[in-house]
Symmetry: C2
Subunit: 417 residues, 2 copies
Amino acid sequence: MSLIVMKFGGSSVGTTERMQRVARRIADYHEAGHQVAVVVSAMGDTTDDLIDQSKQLNPNPPAREMDMLLTTGEQISVALLSMAIHQIGHKAMSLTGWQAGFRTDAVHGKARITDIAPERIFKAFEQGYTVIVAGFQGMTDDGEITTLGRGGSDTTAVALAAAINADVCEIYTDVDGVYSTDPRVVKCARKLNEISYDEMLELANLGAAVLHPRAVEYAKHNNVRLVVRSSFTQNEGTSVKEEAVMEQGVAVRGIAYDKDVARISILGVEDVPGVLATVFGALAAGEVNVDIIVQSGVLNGKADFSFTVSLSDKDKAISVVEGIRGEVSFDEVTSEEDLVKVSIVGAGMVSNPGVAAKMFEVISGLGISIKLVSTSEIRVSCVIAADRIHDVVRALHTAYGLDVEEQAFIGGPKDRR
Amino acid sequence: MSLIVMKFGGSSVGTTERMQRVARRIADYHEAGHQVAVVVSAMGDTTDDLIDQSKQLNPNPPAREMDMLLTTGEQISVALLSMAIHQIGHKAMSLTGWQAGFRTDAVHGKARITDIAPERIFKAFEQGYTVIVAGFQGMTDDGEITTLGRGGSDTTAVALAAAINADVCEIYTDVDGVYSTDPRVVKCARKLNEISYDEMLELANLGAAVLHPRAVEYAKHNNVRLVVRSSFTQNEGTSVKEEAVMEQGVAVRGIAYDKDVARISILGVEDVPGVLATVFGALAAGEVNVDIIVQSGVLNGKADFSFTVSLSDKDKAISVVEGIRGEVSFDEVTSEEDLVKVSIVGAGMVSNPGVAAKMFEVISGLGISIKLVSTSEIRVSCVIAADRIHDVVRALHTAYGLDVEEQAFIGGPKDRR
C-alpha cells in the first residue's frame, strides 16, 4: 500500500467524460489498496470565464475579492469529481483549501503556503475516503480565502505530498511526460524517464510548461518524488527527483526554446562606474524582469549593453531607459523582436567540455548568427532570429544524440494551472 | 443612522447591469450614513446550471457534495457584488456563510441555523465596510459546508438581521411588495402597505411566493421587521410585522390561489375506529404531504374521505392507499386534477362574522361548485375547478372591497430563492 497524491489540471477534468475517466483512474488506485489524495484545478475555462465576468463590473477588482471569486472554480471541480467517484461506488470527500488545512500568508492573488494541518485528511483516510482537495487556494490565520497564483495547483499537490509524507506526487497533464524537446517540432523527441529537479527547473522556466517552476522548487526543497504523466494514457511518465540517471554519453537532457523574448540595446554608454547598477536598478524599480544581460568591450570610453525582456515588457523597458538619460549618458536605445531563446539543459554538461562549443557550431553551421549568449552550470542559452528556430531545435536534438526512432506523444489541450 | 439588512434574490443580480444597479442602491444607503449588511443569492440560473452539471456525473449525488457544489453560486455573487461596489468608490467586503459566522446543524441540503457569531461583521462595520454575505449557506461545528435549502437566502437575511439587531430587514424582489392578490390576474389588485406575520405566512404558503414561509416564521419568532420591496423601483414596499393596521371595514387582506392541487377520494370506507389514523399514517410514512382533509357523514356504516395533495404526489398517494387495502376496507379510490385552491386571508376575519359565507356566496353566484373547504382563524380556502379561477379571484377581490383604481405593479422575472 502506498500513499499517493494525484494532481489533475483543468483540461483533464474539462468535460463530463474526462471527469469520469479521472474518477475511474482514482478508483483503480483505491481498489489496489492505496490511500489517495487528489488535487484538482478548476475545469477548463472556468477561471478565465470568472475573470471576464469580474472585469465587466470592475477592471481593477480588489485582490481579496478576486480570490473569493476564483476559488469557487476549484470548489466546483472537487465537488463534481467527488460525485463522479461516488457514482462508481467509491467513497470520496471533497475539501476546500482551508478545509484541507492549507494556511497561507495574506498576499491575495499570490499567497505562499505557511503551514498545512492535514489532520482532517488523515481522519478521512481512516474512514475509507479518497480525499479531493481544491488546488490553488488556502486561508490566512484571519480566515481570509487566498489563492496561490498561477501554477498554484501544482504547488498545492507537492506541498500536500510533503505534508502527508506521500510516497509519490503524480502530476497528470495532457502530455506523456517531459520530453527532450517540443514533440510538435521534433518528431523524434524522446520522452525522458528521469530528470533532476534542477534540470526540470531550467526546462520549466524555459517554456516546457508541463510543471510549474514553483512546484519543482518546492519538491526539491522537500525531496518529494514527482512523476509527470498523461491523464489520457497509462504510460509511465517522467520521474523528477534529486539524482536522475543520465544515459551513457548523453550530456544534454533536453532542448527548450522561448519566443517571448525582446532585445534592448543601449549603445554608446559612457563607461563610468555604477552605470550598470543605475540602468538595472531603474528597470527593477519599473518592475521589468530582465533575463540575459551582455556588455560588450569598451571602445573609446564607450560601451554597448544588451539585455532581454519579455515582449510585454519591451515598451516599458525602453521608456525606463529613456527616463534615466539625465543620470546616464548614452547615444541610442534600439530594440528587436522576432527573436527566440534556445537552450540546452543537462546536469552532465558540467563534466563534458565542449558541449557549449558544439551548440555554437550547430547554429553557425545553419548560417544563423547568435545575438546573445548566457550560461549556467546546467544550461546554455542562445538568442537568435526566430524564423528558423525549428531547424535549429531539430539540428541540436540530433547533434546531442537525443533522437529516437518512434515517438509516443499524445497531444491534447494545454493545462493552464 | 440605521443598521439595515438588504437581501437581493438571484434575478436582482442576474446580469451585469442589474448587479451594478444593486451596487448603486447599497452605496446610496452607505452614503446616507447607514450601516449595511447585504445578503445575496446565486445569480440567475447558476444554481440550476450546477445541478444539471452534477446530474450528468451522478444522478444521486451525496448531499454533502451537493452543498459543496451549490454554495459556490452565492460565493460568486458576493465577490462580484463587492467588486461592483468598489468600482463606485465604496468599501465592501464579501463573506461566505461560514466567514459571516453562520453555524448550522449537519443536515446537508436543508440545514437549520443553530447560531450566528457576527463578530467579523461588526469588525468590518468598524472599518467602514459594507458587508456582503453569501445567502443560503453555513458551516457545521466540524467545518462542513451546508446549505439551508430552498428559500434559504430569505432565512439568511432574517437570521442575520436578528443576530446583529438590525432596524429593518429589506427583502428586494421583482415585485413592488405584497399584493392583495396576483396583479397579473386582477388589474386593480392593491399593494399592501402593511401585513402581519401570520397573514404573510398564509399568503406565502398559498403561493404568493415573494417571501419564503420559513423566513417569515423566523422573523415572527425574533420580531424582525421585514420590508418586501422591488429592486427595480424606489417604491415603499410592504411592511411585515406583528400587528398590521387593517383599513376600515376590510376584513380580508388578500386572496391567494394555488394550482398545485390534486384531490384523492376514498369511497365507501368501512367506518371502524382508527381508519383515519391508518390512512394518513400510511401517507405520512410514504412522505406524502396532505393538505385539506374532509370526511363526509357516515351512511350505512360507510364513509367517504377526500384529501388534497400536490400534483407530484398524486400517483404516490393513490398507490399508498391501494397498498393498505388489507388493513382498511373501502370500495374505490378516485382522483381529480385541474383543480385550484383559492383562499381569502385576513386577521380581521375572526371578528367579522359572515366573511366565509360571503366567499361561498360569491363562488356559487358564478355557478361554480365548491369541492372542498378548509378554514383557519385567518383563512378560508375552497377547492374548485381550475378553469374559471381568474373570474373567481376578481369577483372575490371586488366583494371584499380590495379593488383600487390604478395599479402600480412592475413585473420582472421571478426570484427563485
